[in-house]
Symmetry: C2
Subunit: 304 residues, 2 copies
């Protein structure tokens, strides 16, 4: 059974097609957690790493029984160097220990052996002498398409060989996404061209529900484009950012789901992890996160 | 004086517009270095990290007086997790201690606060409590344009505020680069459209030699496209991959330089760091690297 089948089963079981984005900007991390780690480790990357990891585990503990997946965005970790990457890898492991699916949001890509190194890092195994191990151990990874098909092949190989998945950037949720993505080539926007490729690349990998592990990132902030993409890529599973804080509504993003209510997973990051701000004591941040996750779930489910 | 002015001064001083790509695939690292570290640390990421770092320092020691810059490609490090990132950061520090310019080849990008986190990680400073420090401390960074102008702004800000530089992917050296990059929008290929934006974004940041720190990646493997790009982006400094192992020749890439012989820096990775293979004892790998760097320098200089 393929990764997207398993993800859809979990979504169906929990009746929740959403994912919590773990993008721990330091001003989202409750002050008491930061202070505890600053007291122990000083104002160091180690302190921040421990604070971010603790914050993440409290969020995960609060939502793992109602939310199928997390999406840690690596930039917020990478900025703290090796210690930050340590928190990132520990967060992935912790989420997996709670049976959550992990979407590594890294938007990686490069050519030839270098692209293959990213694919192996996030989705595959690395080999050191006679030892093979996972470096990051994510289930799915976001990937950028600008370099072309040959650059994406090592990622598609990991999907095929190791039952992993990718989400290729198609139409992103930011206001400036149109600069390249909306340009028209013979009357067809670039995002449709990329979408058409993705639909084709996934053909042989479709699972029980008709979706392939070669997915697409489609922003909730662009309703018409998302509807058109659902039409031209009926077998492509979508990761949908832009809900909530970025302005996308459940009504907007409902077009990403097919008539059976399948085909997408919707992300919210600060709307969940920073939900406590101005609402409850920072010590109870995870209760606000759980409540926000439930409200989001119900909002989305009502619209699909 | 801006970063590109300083880089051009160094290029002029050394009469060498080239950069050594530090992409240490494990099969490039000489066996005796790997074995030494395996003996000490076992078959672990720590062993690989130490081996890669030692290999890099020997390469840097062999070329720093004749080559102005290094370009460590992060995928080859990231695949070994925190230990790999440790080798990456140590390599940057070591190259800087030898007064080399460091181009972090990471092809990063994301939207809003996340893009800003990458920009701060590689080019800027991070703030932890009352401590400010550099996470990676690179001089220049490769960046992907698919997400649009707003996603690039945090990187451009670091260029402006901290005298750093970026190279935005325009026309990459891989065979499949045309999938998106060559598509025609009203008769104009995407790479020209991206190039035109870059030329414009750099307008106010041009330095003494007329080049801005908002640079472009233009592959040596596409001569006609490169010539056209030099024409439409006369003030844009180019990072030129694809020389040597990928098939680009000095005659091909000569079009990236202007009539004064300025405007580009050419990368070779395995052509330098793996030059020893089948040529000399692995213990003398750095001598082969130096020799290859000299041959590359002379080949390029002869053609511009």
């Amino acid at each position: 059974m393929g990764i997207i089948d398993k993800l859809i089963d979990k979504i169906t079981l929990l009746k929740n097609p959403s994912v919590v984005g773990l993008d721990p900007q330091l001003n989202f991390v409750p002050e008491h957690i930061l202070e505890e780690m600053y007291d122990t480790y000083g104002h160091t990357p180690k302190a921040v790493s421990e604070a971010i990891f603790k914050f993440n585990t409290e969020i995960i503990d609060a939502v793992y029984d109602i939310v199928p997946a997390v999406k840690p965005q690596i930039a917020m970790y990478e900025m703290f160097g090796t210690e930050g990457i340590d928190a990132y890898i520990k967060t992935i492991k912790y989420a997996k220990s709670k049976n959550m699916f992990v979407i590594a949001d890294a938007k990686r890509n490069d050519i030839a052996s270098t692209g293959a190194a990213y694919a192996k890092a996030f989705l595959g195994k690395i080999k050191i002498g006679d030892v093979e191990e996972e470096a990051f151990g994510a289930d799915l990874l976001t990937v950028s398409p600008y370099l072309g098909q040959d650059s994406l092949e090592p990622f598609i190989d990991e999907c095929r060989l190791r039952d992993k998945g990718i989400f290729i950037l198609v139409k992103t949720s930011n206001p400036g996404s149109g600069m390249l993505q909306d340009l028209l080539v013979d009357g067809k926007p670039i995002y449709e061209i990329v979408g058409t490729y993705i639909e084709e690349w996934g053909t042989e990998l479709r699972g029980r529900y008709g979706f392939s592990p070669i997915g697409a990132v489609v922003g909730a902030t662009h309703k018409e484009q998302a509807a058109r993409l659902r039409e031209i890529m009926p077998h492509t599973f979508m990761l949908v950012p832009g809900y909530g804080a970025q302005g996308g509504t459940a009504a907007d993003l409902s077009v990403c789901f097919n008539s059976e209510g399948l085909g997408a997973i919707v992300n919210s990051s600060r709307g969940i992890i920073a939900a406590y701000k101005g609402k409850c004591a920072p010590q109870e941040h995870f209760m606000a996160a759980r409540e926000a996750a439930i409200i989001m779930r119900d909002d989305i489910v009502k619209h699909i």
